[in-house]
């Protein structure tokens, strides 16, 4: 094993060596620099390998042959090895990235870069305080030099401000060290740690000065105006190093210092960290310049790691895993994003649209964002899971809330940025694709995925990258070059195969959901054959969603459940974002979904009380009063997905603006994830009371209100897909209502809705999508009279609306019948009133849907329209068949579930003997109903055909019309504002109060960020005052008060 001191020796030696070379030998100098950095990286890597897998032990290196405190010692343990590897690799990649600049600036720039890397390694390795100071000084000097590499004119000013701030920090640090040395008689960190009690007793100011100086190196919010100017104006390669490498090194220095400070200084670190995390994220909301946004995000992430450092007392063995996971994710992603920013010409966030058309760079961008936000399967995900669980177990609920809140804001602006990149008008500027720069970016991508794999392997919950569905979804990334029909076939086969594989192990409930998700998903995918070309990005996203869904229903423990939940959320977000105008809606979807997901995370964390391997069944054993809170958090989380009223505002836009075949996926299938979650929750936890209020009763009201308001809003929509989307809110309200009734038939009804809603909503979305494709509009009043041109679509919609409305003989009636039987035994009667009111309102929007599209007057521009494409029609016809079959033999699917539900509610099940289904209250015979109605209908029709056999088909305007003959379809088609009287009577109920509430909330956050960011005035002196003010405030809060 090569001695770790060679890392420092190589850096320092090579930097001196470069000074001896002739200035013209730039290639040689550059080669030597790269070689030196490669050697340093290799040494660090070999230590990582030895310490992590080779069984080697932590090594102390004594520089002068004597032991401390008489000489300086360095230490190489696993954290040091990983961090030095990170620093050196980042520097190596930065050197590659900076090739052209280095050639221009010559060997001096290379020497400074080497010194920078070496100094950071020194900070990490050293165990001596004064030595630490020296390395910090070296970092400051080299930073000053490297800032000037930038072409940006502001860099000079930024560098100067940085030097001012650094001097303040240095003075604080030096004074602190002097006093500490005076108090303890040693400069060795470990020596001082063993005497910390003594030091802290009398010399707490001394420790404070050291501590605050190193913390200030982290550029904590709000004493960091100077740092942001550097992040913004420096060369991106250097910003990458500053964020990834220098940040990590400084954090490690804080970690060392906290050894001395002990537990009583941990809360200070926590407080500074969390303020930074939230403050910086909030400020980032108001940014529209890429590098400054990234700067704020860096500060936030470092703040988060500092918060984790502050939790050292409770994290125990997982401390390094958690802190390392977040730090590594931050470092890799931030470096990657800064490097990527070097490829983009413009500095606006929207300028990144230039990345479009380069799928690999988009993939890199997505990888970095996912790393940063902590989505599965990246290290931040595992780390956050463990962190939140530990915090919950130790009752640090406030901190937990703040962390999740900050993470949500962060996800908000990062996803907003992603939306810009994918959806905003593309800039004419091209990506500067120099191969070596692109290679560096890909290097970071590979590092990110490697870290994901490693963290998964280290995780006690199992590696997500070993789960077959996720791998299947990710595998589509490699198949992107294939045409759609091949990928589509593979996807369909995959879904069906996974269903067949899992079939023997599903219980009846899972079977219903699995059939809807997997077989149903395959059916919807049939419609994707109508797309030509390669459709890049569609299949990985769609399959990620399906993978998440498939994993969700078989999850046994809370971790796999949550990982599946996040996967399906992210997959569906990418899917929704594909729609032409879906940028704001996809953003609103992901923010609500992540907000919901964080509530679920918090709920699981509270429930588990520190048990890392928490089985979902154990939810039932959570005791009061905790159980009610757990229930509430999880329920709200799941209801966000079913778009219950109050958290529904994301749904209409997201479902309406999605692509033709995506709408049925996200409506027919994705919403069921929330229902499945609620099933799981209620099955395990049952009824819960919070302050005497029964929570299922509250859910009953929420369900009823969702049903009413969803339906009401649907009738006032002019856009067909929006109408269907609002109708989904109503339908999910019914299902929620059924679940919340907490009786046998209520649950059966909810399951019936799972099946029915999947079938008819998928079918209707496909029909409407096909029609919109042909007519070029989704506004219903622009259509009309399409029945003869698109008869098959008409049949699908007709069958669909009969089923939705619950009119016999189709399957919707079964749902209504079970509903009436269920409410007979319900505990609460008042919410029924709202449900009763909601029921008939469905007729209004359903009639409007079919009438304004297919009936009435055909428009001139539509006279030559053809039926929707075959591949859109085919699944619709299959759905029609399904609906008819399900209407006649509902027992096929439901009787097994019915008997399965007996274990939860033994009473009031249904009796499925013979043709008639009976309950304790009534009876229903689907086959008889179908036969009777069919016979009556056929007889009357035959009679009409007999008496009216000579009926002539007449032209469009041949009708009685107040002695005039209408001549324009537009003025004759009664369609716009169809239910005007209804609006007059009940329109006040559809005031967008909820939308206004959420808008006001986001506006408030944005205005706050906009207002407070003026705090950063750009003046170096003011920044120095900020810094001092920060120091004083922290001191007063910690020591003085």
């Amino acid at each position: 094993m090569v001695n770790a001191i060679f890392i420092i020796a190589t850096g320092l030696g090579t930097a001196f060596l470069l000074g001896l070379l002739k200035d013209e030998w730039r290639t040689a100098a550059y080669g030597i620099t790269l070689a030196a950095l490669a050697l340093m990286s290799w040494i660090a890597a070999s230590w990582v390998a030895a310490l992590a897998w080779g069984g080697a032990a932590t090594v102390d290196i004594f520089t002068a042959g004597t032991e401390p405190p008489f000489a300086i010692n360095l230490r190489m343990g696993l954290p040091e090895a990983v961090l030095t590897l990170l620093v050196n690799l980042a520097s190596l990649l930065a050197a590659v990235y900076l090739r052209d600049t280095m050639f221009k600036q010559g060997r001096r720039a290379m020497a400074v870069l080497l010194i920078f890397a070496m100094a950071l390694c020194g900070i990490i390795l050293t165990r001596d305080l004064f030595n630490l100071f020296v390395f910090f000084e070296l970092t400051v000097i080299s930073t000053g030099g490297l800032i000037l590499l930038s072409r940006d004119k502001r860099a000079l000013g930024a560098g100067f401000k940085y030097l001012i701030a650094s001097q303040v920090i240095s003075i604080l640090l030096l004074v602190g060290i002097i006093f500490s040395y005076h108090a303890t008689g040693t400069l060795n960190i470990d020596g001082m740690a063993s005497m910390s009690a003594q030091l802290l007793q009398g010399g707490s100011l001394a420790f404070f000065l050291m501590f605050i100086a190193i913390v200030a190196e982290l550029k904590p919010f709000p004493a960091n105006g100077w740092a942001l100017d550097i992040y913004e104006s420096a060369h991106p390669a250097f910003s990458a190093m500053l964020s990834a490498a220098a940040g990590s090194a400084a954090l490690f220095a804080v970690d060392k210092l906290l050894l001395i400070g002990g537990t009583q200084w941990l809360p200070v670190a926590t407080a500074i960290g969390i303020v930074s995390f939230i403050g910086a994220n909030l400020f980032a909301l108001a940014q529209n310049v890429d590098r400054r946004t990234l700067g704020y995000s860096s500060i936030a992430q470092i703040g988060l790691v500092l918060t984790v450092l502050g939790q050292r007392d409770i994290l125990g063995d997982s401390y390094l895993y958690i802190a390392g996971g977040i730090l590594l994710a931050h470092a890799i992603s931030k470096a990657g994003l800064y490097w990527l920013s070097g490829l983009v010409e413009g500095r606006e966030l929207t300028a990144w649209t230039a990345l479009r058309g380069r799928p690999l760079l988009i993939f890199a961008f997505v990888t970095f964002l996912a790393l940063l936000i902590g989505l599965p399967p990246f290290p931040g995900f595992y780390a956050k899971w463990d962190l939140i669980h530990t915090l919950a177990a130790q009752d640090r609920i406030m901190l937990l809330t703040l962390i999740l809140f900050g993470a949500l804001i962060e996800a908000g602006y990062l996803f907003r940025w992603f939306g810009y990149v994918i959806k905003r008008e593309q800039t004419t500027e091209r990506v500067a694709c120099t191969p070596h720069k692109v290679a560096v970016v890909y290097g970071a991508v590979i590092a990110g995925w490697t870290a994901a794999y490693l963290w998964g392997n280290l995780s006690p919950h199992g590696n997500l990258l070993h789960t077959l569905p996720l791998l299947f979804a990710l595998g589509f990334l490699l198949l992107e070059w294939l045409p759609v029909w091949i990928k589509n076939t593979i996807a369909i086969i995959g879904l069906v195969a996974w269903f067949i594989l899992g079939f023997p192990d599903y219980d009846p409930l899972q079977l219903i959901f699995a059939a809807v998700i997997l077989i149903g998903g395959a059916l919807i995918l049939l419609s994707s054959y109508h797309v030509q070309g390669r459709r890049i990005g569609f299949y990985p996203s769609a399959m990620l969603m399906y993978a998440g869904l498939a994993m969700l229903i078989t999850a046994d423990d809370s971790f796999s459940f949550f990982a599946a939940w996040e996967s399906l959320t992210v997959g569906s977000y990418f899917l929704i974002l594909r729609g032409k105008h879906s940028e704001p809606h996809a953003l609103s979807y992901i923010i609500f979904s992540l907000g919901g997901a964080f509530l679920i995370l918090a709920g699981f964390a509270l429930a588990s009380q520190g048990v890392m391997d928490f089985q979902l069944q154990a939810l039932g054993q959570v005791t009061e009063p905790l159980s009610a809170w757990v229930f509430m958090l999880l329920a709200i989380g799941f209801m966000t997905k079913t778009a219950a009223i109050g958290v529904h505002i994301w749904l209409p836009g997201a479902h309406a603006e999605a692509e033709t075949d995506v709408s049925p996926m996200v409506s027919g299938i994705l919403l069921k994830a929330g229902l499945f979650g609620l099933f799981m929750l209620l099955m395990n936890m049952g009824k819960q009371q919070l302050y005497g209020i029964e929570l299922t009763h509250v859910m009953l009201w929420i369900g009823a209100l969702s049903a009413l308001l969803g339906n009401l809003m649907a009738i006032f929509q002019e856009d067909a897909k929006r109408l269907l989307a609002y109708s989904s809110i109503g339908q999910m309200g019914y299902a929620l209502f059924g679940l919340a009734m907490m009786n046998h038939l209520g649950w059966l009804m909810a399951l019936m809705f799972v099946i029915n809603h999947y079938i008819y909503k998928s079918m209707l979305f496909l029909s409407v999508g096909g029609i919109a494709k042909r007519t070029g509009t989704r506004e219903m009043y622009r259509m009309g009279g399409l029945i003869t041109l698109m008869p098959l679509s008409f049949i699908a919609v007709l069958i669909g609306i009969i089923a939705v409305s619950g009119v016999p003989p189709l399957s919707g009636f079964g749902g209504r019948w079970i509903f009436y039987n269920a409410i007979m035994t319900a505990d609460h009667r008042l919410p029924m009133i709202i449900i009763f009111l909601a029921g008939p309102i469905a007729f209004l929007y359903l009639f409007r849907l079919i009438h304004t599209i297919f009936l009435g007057q055909l428009k001139d521009e539509h006279r030559r329209l053809k039926e929707a494409p075959f591949w859109l029609i085919l699944p619709q016809m299959i759905y029609v068949a399904c609906l008819l079959i399900f209407a006649v033999v509902p027992g096929m699917a439901l009787r097994h579930v019915d008997s399965y539900l007996n274990q939860f509610f033994p009473n009031h099940g249904l009796n499925w003997e013979g043709l008639t289904i009976t309950s304790s209250f009534g009876y229903w015979s689907p086959i008889s109903i179908m036969l009777v109605i069919g016979t009556i209908f056929a007889t009357v029709l035959a009679w009409l055909l007999f008496v009216n056999r000579k009926a002539q088909k007449v032209k469009q305007f041949n009708m009685v019309f107040a002695a005039e003959r209408p001549y324009r379809p537009e003025t004759t088609h009664y369609a716009w504002n169809f239910f005007a009287p209804y609006r007059k009577a009940l329109g006040f109920l559809t005031q967008p109060l909820v939308t206004r509430f959420w808008e006001a909330l986001t506006d408030l956050l944005h205005s706050l960020a906009e207002l407070l960011r003026r705090f950063y005035c750009g003046n170096g002196q003011t920044y120095a005052i900020h810094l001092l003010g920060f120091v004083v405030v922290v001191y007063l809060l910690k020591v003085g008060l």
């Binding site: 003869t788 409305s805 016999p808 009667r829 079919i850 002539q952 009685v960 009287p981």
Partner: protein, 301 residues
Amino acid sequence: MEFEWIKIPYSLLTLFIVINFGLLLTALIQKIGARVGRRHGIPIYQNYIDLIKNYAIRSSITHGFMFYLGPVFRLSGGVGLLLFVPTIYGSEMFSNLSFAGDLILALYFVFFGALGMALGAGESGHPHAAIGVSRGLSQMTAAELPFALAVFSVALQYQTLSVTDIVAAQQGGVLNWTLFTNPFAVTAAMFSFLGSMMRPPFDVVLAPQEIPIGPPTEYHSSYLALMQTNRVIFPVAKIVIYMNLFFGGAASWPVFFLKVFLIYMVSVFVGVAFPRFRVEQSIRWFLIWAMPLGILAIVLV
């Protein structure tokens, strides 16, 4: 209850009786309405003449597939509704096809004809048809609510959804009728009844003056005949449900005829005395006056 083939001729017999009764009843009601307005009114056999004439007219046109099926839906809805509910209590012969489903089936089957008819009228392309449907559906959502609440209340009261069982529970004297045991539910339901009988103040849907005749505007000849057939069956079928739920049912045909007539007359009394509401007015009326009674019925039962 199981199906037997003999039920088919028995059901047809019920249908035959109800059609004839309905033809006479609606004519009588129209005549009463006319007399109140100091007009002479139609002869009592007028409906027979209209029906035969319309079935016999040979000239007919169609606006398309759905237009053709509209009246078929409408009449099937009326006939089905009648046959899904037992007509005469205690009579196996006139229990019709009620083995297929209970009260809920009847409640939801009411919409079958309305929906199909609305679709057929829509295909005619006539704006008045669409306007009529828009008004009708709007009004219906509010008018059905008190009825639904009343039905729920009655089902809770008797702990069953079977129409036969509900009638059985009301036997043994007038005071056992739901009318007296659950007056709030019955009042709420009767308010709702006014809204569904196409008489003032809730007849803006057909609005004979402003809009020729609402949804059926374009229908003529045999189409119209089918709808007229339904027009005589449907109110009776609907009243049968009210009679069974709230007024003790009928154990014989004479009682049946009397009760149906009297219940029908409720809407006539109100109709001749009050002017017409606009749609939004009737929606408000149902929500303000009828719905609270329904809520009371649910809470008190």
